[in-house]
Structure formats: C-alpha cells, structure tokens
Amino acid sequence: MTEPNFTLIDEGRAVAVAATVDGDRVQLSPAALRAALGWEVKPQGLCKDDRCVPIAARADVVTAAGVDLAGFAAVLSRPLALDVGARAAYFGAAAADRAAQLASLQAPDFTLPDLNGRPHALSDYRGKKVLLVAYASW
C-alpha cells in the first residue's frame, strides 16, 4: 500500500487516501475506496450496505488503474469539487437526497456548537416549537 497523498472529504469528514493522479483524473484502488468511503466494487456495481448502483454502462469508472473519482461521483449523482494541484476533493450531498429530506417535511437534524463549544442538536429541542434563524455578521 502506498502512502496517503490525497484528502477526500465526505460531507465534512476528511480521510487521507493513496490515490493515483494523472492529469485531471484521480483514481483510487478498490481497497482505498472501500476504506475511505465505504463503497465496494462488486460484479453488480458499486455497493454500500444493501445498496448497489450498476456501472455496466460506465466502463470509464472502474478500470485496471482503479476507480475514477469523478466517474464514481457521477454514478452516485453526488457533487464533487476537485483540486488536483492541492490533492483534495470534496464529496457533497446529492441534490435528490437533500430535496427528498426537505420534501418529507421532517426537519433535517444537525448538531452545531455554541460560543463555548458546547454542542446542541435540533433534536434536543423535540417537544418544543422552534424558530430556526440563520443569520451572519456579513
């Protein structure tokens, strides 16, 4: 196993991985992909937990050189921001997942710190009516 040379951030969680960088293409070994993001390359496609996404029509995603990061993001319909020079990439949340959560009308839960660093979750306030206010100093 080669040394980690690339940072993948999966919705805020950063993981160092060994990647092959070739021009704009970034590729991971299937083992590195599995360790970093939990997705496995299987005969039926890319799989995580009980879910498999077929990749038969996407010959460019998994090659002998590894799993192509941009192709992997495209298969999962997840946004990928990539900086090859800085050796870092950010996987965001799929629009369809965010949209489905909002359309369910169940308020997405979150945990954020106050000024003293104490974490608060929205769900801590279940049983109360909540006025959620986003603001900023800018």
Binding site: S77, P79, Y90, G92, A94, A95, P108, K128, V130, L131
Partner: protein
C-alpha cells in the same frame, strides 16, 4: 420576542453562518440570549435547508416537522427601511402559532412554498466546502479558485458569494457586494417563495 414566548413551549435557535465564532461574538454577547446561539462555519445548515441568504427563518413544530419553510424575516425594525421587510406580520403570526397553535399554512400546502436544491446548487456547496477546507489548510490561492467557481455555479446564493467575502479579504459591504446585488436585481431578485402572511 423570545422572552415573551419562551414559557409557551417554544425556543429560538439562532445559527451564525460565519467563518469564526469571533465574527458573531459581539452580537451574541450584546444580546446575551438564553436560547441556543450556534456557530456554523461549514454552512451545514445552508446545505441541509437550502438557505441562500440571511436572515432566513424556518418554523419547526414539537414533532420536528417543518410547518413553515424558508422565509426572510427580521426580529426587529432595524432593517425595515433597508430591506422593505416589516417584521410585524411575521412576529404576529409567530405569536399566534406559539400561543394558540394557529398554523401558518395548511399542512398540505407547506411543500408548495419550498424551493428544493438543484444539482448545480449542490455542486456550488461542494466547491464552497472544498474552498473553506483549503483556506483553513493555509492554501488561500487554491481556495480562491473554488470560492469563485462556487459563486459562478450559484450566482444568487448570498451565503456562498457574500459569505465568502470576509474569508477572501473582500469587503461584504463594498464593491464585490454591489456587483452581486446588481446582478441579483437584474435577474429579477430570485429568492424564496413568498409565503402568505396576514398584513404582508
């Protein structure tokens, strides 16, 4: 408002979309709120709720359901002249909900007033998040490329464009903001859907 309503099974939760706790600290310490007042440098809330400007309010009921989706509302008259938004109709409706359970929208209509995120908007958020990560890593030039890209993908998202200005060394009240604002006006002021409010 919070002091008036807090004994009715109600809380306010404020979330500052700021790069550092030091940015909103003067506001928070001056207001000395007894409700949770949280800090969100990663813009997690903007991602989860598709928040594109501040202030944005969302009403969430006792069971954790959204009963009134994203809207612009202010807690005082401070910005009334600047924004043309009178805080009173929203505060009156809030009181009626908290004290008398008067729902602001029929439950079947809440979805009609949501704007759901697009793939392009989510890509803009990923670009913003990568930029913020690179900035914190001490790579401001790499960060700048991705802040710019994020703004191109979501040109009318103030949390991305204006929210990145203090990080990029740009004045959020200066020429960069004037440019953003005039683009937004020219595009027809794209924003949330207008939720009916008695008196608005």
């Amino acid at each position: 408002m919070y002091e008036e309503l807090k004994d009715y099974g109600f809380t306010v939760i404020t979330v500052a979309l700021d790069k550092s706790p030091d940015d909103p600290r003067p506001f928070i310490e001056a207001a000395a709120p007894t409700h949770p007042s949280l800090i969100d440098p990663e813009h997690l809330l903007a991602d989860l709720y598709r928040i594109i400007n501040v202030p944005t309010v969302v009403w969430i009921d006792e069971r954790g359901n959204i009963v009134r989706p994203n809207d612009a509302a202010f807690g005082s008259d401070m910005f009334k002249e600047l924004t043309g938004i009178d805080p009173k109709p929203h505060l009156d409706a809030l009181r009626a909900w908290v004290k008398h359970n008067e729902l602001p929208l029929a439950p079947n209509n809440v979805r009609d007033y949501q704007v759901l995120p697009t793939a392009e908007e989510q890509l803009a958020r990923a670009e913003f998040s990568l930029a913020w990560y690179l900035y914190q890593l001490g790579k401001p030039e790499a960060a700048e490329r991705h802040f710019v890209r994020a703004g191109e993908l979501a040109p009318h998202d103030f949390t991305i464009r204006r929210g990145s200005m203090p990080i990029r060394g740009l004045d959020p009240m200066g020429p960069a903001f004037a440019e953003l604002y005039s683009e937004w006006i020219a595009a027809g002021r794209p924003y949330y859907k207008v939720i009916p409010l008695p008196g608005r």
